[in-house]
């Protein structure tokens, strides 16, 4: 079976910019984590590899054309990969990472909507409770990284769609 490369052999300016923006997502997430948490560089290597693998599978599975970086999705993969490396019963470490991830996603939502969409603290608490329920093997009351991504992605695209609809009126 033939395979078709997605990228270019020599990295184009657009591909370089995409990679730089993806690296920016990593740096922002780590910056939010490291205020309360110490990570080693080998752990960062591991979560980046896992997150990139999952990100590529996400694009392929859902037939997504990556125009620019989907910052929230990549952040979710990074956070999910880090949480999966925790010991099963270490809820506190999990909470610290979830807090950092939620802060990262909240910032991206604000950046993209120019402050029109501000996830309230109460919704952040609810999302964290969903994530912790999933973590504690209570999936009927939980969500994981796709659910978390959807919680931030769908309001944003709906807002953009509504804004585009209203402009011609």
């Amino acid at each position: 079976m033939s395979v078709k490369p997605v990228g270019l052999t020599a990295q184009s300016a657009a591909a370089l910019r995409l990679a730089q923006s993806a690296h920016g997502v990593l740096r922002i997430f780590l910056r939010n984590v490291e205020k309360n948490y110490t990570l080693q560089i080998d752990q960062v290597e591991s979560i980046v590899s896992e997150a990139c693998l999952q990100h590529a599978k996400h694009l392929d599975t859902h037939d997504i054309n990556q125009v620019t970086i989907d910052a929230s999705k990549l952040a979710c993969w990074l956070g999910g990969s880090l949480i999966e490396k925790l010991e099963g019963d270490n809820d506190h470490q999990c909470e610290v990472i979830i807090d950092a991830l939620l802060k990262t996603l909240r910032g991206f939502l604000i950046a993209e909507s120019k402050w029109f969409l501000l996830m309230p603290a109460s919704a952040m608490r609810l999302l964290k409770s969903f994530l912790m329920a999933e973590r504690r093997n209570n999936p009927k009351h939980g969500i994981w990284m796709n659910g978390l991504y959807a919680a931030f992605h769908c309001p944003l695209v709906a807002w953009k769609e509504g804004k585009a609809y209203k402009i011609p009126l």
Partner: protein, 94 residues
């Protein structure tokens, strides 16, 4: 297993000072780009069986956010620092 943030170690929750002597675990762009290019940008894509019935979904962020992310990649977090500062002030009032 991930280290740190346990009882008795540096952690804001347990009231201990986070270790400011530890260098931040920043992966260089060159290293990130190697991983990204191998696993995402240059990944082989198998042709889909049966053809596509719908166009692919487009996604991504605006050019403004891309600019801010590229700046963050280069160590300039000013854009997100401003958001964090405003959010902290907003949350404190709630």
């Amino acid at each position: 297993m991930v280290s740190g943030c346990q009882k008795g170690t540096s952690c804001a929750r347990y009231g201990l000072v986070s270790s400011s002597l530890q260098p931040p675990p920043t992966m260089t762009f060159d290293r990130f780009n190697q991983i990204w290019t191998t696993l995402v940008a240059d990944r082989p894509v198998l042709p889909k069986a049966g053809g596509k019935s719908l166009p692919p979904l487009d996604n991504g962020v605006s050019e403004d956010t891309v600019n801010a992310l590229v700046a963050a990649s280069n160590g300039d977090f000013a854009f997100f620092d401003e958001i964090d500062a405003k959010l902290a002030a907003y949350d404190a009032k709630k």
